[in-house]
């Protein structure tokens, strides 16, 4: 933290608070995205009101959660290992200035190797795996790194349109350190033939931004005789630069 803060309690006006950078157009999907049918009844019809970032927005939950002993290893949450291709997924939670975000909670959930979720709503006729629940959580280290072990999820059909299939993906939820940085996303796997057909993946308008949701194969982190690895960095919004942030530079 900046050591040059005034000693007295300072009541900042909004103009003095450095906000977070607004996402460039095309980065996030428009809420109203007709090819993804469920947006039709749930996406707001009115444009959002732009809120200037004040104290409640530049702060946020600093959660390390209650992490259980096997929350970081989805292959060890039951009596026996799950069926599937064991993988290690690791990466860094960063802001757009390249700074790692330490001690922040990363939550993940996914289908099993057959593409079936261990959830009462999922009616896909594929086997459940009694040894796989599909939920995990980890906390980043002091440099913003995270890692967890799981099995590669299968693609699965959904009711959006005829012959609709989701590409294999892992759902991710991250907080960062401010309310403005909260992000839920999905991590995909390289080379998935379903990409051109998936309205959720393609809801992101910018092609380059879509590519940033695809993990990269990570031979370096693969473990001999044990598991292949994938890498997925998550970049959250950075802070605006203002004189208030750099008082004596």
């Amino acid at each position: 933290m900046t050591p040059s803060k005034p000693a007295t309690i300072h009541q900042p006006s909004s103009a003095e608070i450095a906000g977070y950078l607004r996402p460039p157009p095309g980065t996030h999907p428009p809420l109203d995205s007709p090819p993804y049918k469920s947006t039709g009844l749930r996406a707001p019809s009115q444009a959002p009101v732009v809120l200037r970032h004040r104290l409640t927005e530049i702060t946020g939950p600093l959660l390390t959660g209650e992490i259980g002993p096997n929350d970081h290893d989805l292959t060890r949450q039951h009596a026996a290992p799950p069926i599937g291709e064991r993988i290690i997924v690791s990466g860094r939670v960063l802001d757009s200035d390249g700074r790692g975000i330490p001690d922040t909670l990363v939550e993940v959930w996914q289908a099993n190797a057959c593409g079936r979720y261990a959830h009462s709503v999922d009616t896909y006729d594929a086997p459940l795996d009694p040894n796989f629940s599909g939920g995990g959580r980890v906390v980043t280290d002091s440099a913003g790194n995270y890692s967890f072990t799981t099995i590669k999820p299968g693609p699965y059909p959904w009711g959006n349109h005829h012959n609709a299939w989701r590409p294999s993906h892992i759902h991710f939820s991250v907080f960062g350190r401010s309310f403005t940085q909260r992000l839920v996303t999905q991590m995909y796997f390289p080379g998935d033939p379903l990409f051109p057909y998936d309205p959720i993946f393609n809801s992101v308008p910018d092609e380059k931004a879509r590519q940033r949701m695809i993990s990269s194969f990570d031979m370096e982190n693969s473990v001999s005789d044990w598991a292949l690895a994938y890498r997925f960095d998550i970049v959250l919004r950075g802070r605006e630069q203002t004189p208030f942030e750099e008082p004596h530079e």
């Binding site: 980065t27 996030h28 993804y36 009844l41 809120l51 839920v184």
Partner: protein, 188 residues
């Protein structure tokens, strides 16, 4: 610093939580910002509805707020971290009736001209990004009248952000994602 100032990294896009969010995001005590029996505890409940008025049974509501004194235990608050340990965060899934429930304390005023408020994120299948809103308090008529956000909205729209008192320590704040009485959502 070794980080180069011009190497701005591009952001990771948002995607929907989908229908199976409860597998990864369920915390048994997530709805307790404070314990049920904490001094000054209040309950905020409400129903999330879609464009037809049907309830949303697979959504999640998250809240973030200052403590009762209007402070955050967070180093980025330029007034300094409160050091109180108040974590300020609530998370509740909606149930089969579309209802969520959060137990918290009323946040204090921040001292910056804003009325006391709670920031809210709503997640659901069919939402490709969270939608953000705010809960204000019905007993803050004067502060609400001069709040920079509320006072800039037409009265009928501002009303969607003000909770309703339904009991001595219970408030109701509903979310209408779309359509008649659509909640005001915020770009943050």
């Amino acid at each position: 610093m070794s980080e180069s100032a011009q190497s701005e990294l591009a952001l990771t896009p948002s995607q929907t939580v989908g229908p199976y969010l409860s597998l990864g995001l369920t915390w048994p005590t997530g709805h307790l910002v404070v314990p049920e029996d904490a001094p000054g505890a209040i309950t905020i409940t409400g129903v999330v509805r879609d464009g037809t008025g049907a309830v949303v049974p697979d959504g999640m509501v998250e809240t973030w707020q200052a403590d009762a004194e209007g402070r955050f235990d967070h180093a980025d608050d330029p007034r300094g971290a409160s050091g109180s340990g108040f974590h300020g965060f609530g998370r509740a899934s909606t149930d089969a009736e579309g209802r969520y429930r959060i137990v918290t304390v009323k946040p204090g005023a921040l001292g910056d001209g804003q009325a006391p408020h709670i920031d809210v994120s709503v997640f659901a299948r069919g939402l490709l990004d969270r939608v953000v809103s705010r809960i204000y308090f019905p007993d803050e008529v004067e502060a609400n009248a001069t709040d920079p956000l509320l006072s800039g909205l037409p009265p009928e729209r501002a009303a969607t952000l003000v909770a309703e008192r339904v009991g001595p320590a219970e408030l109701r704040w509903d979310v209408r994602l779309r359509g008649e009485g659509e909640t005001v959502f915020l770009a943050v």
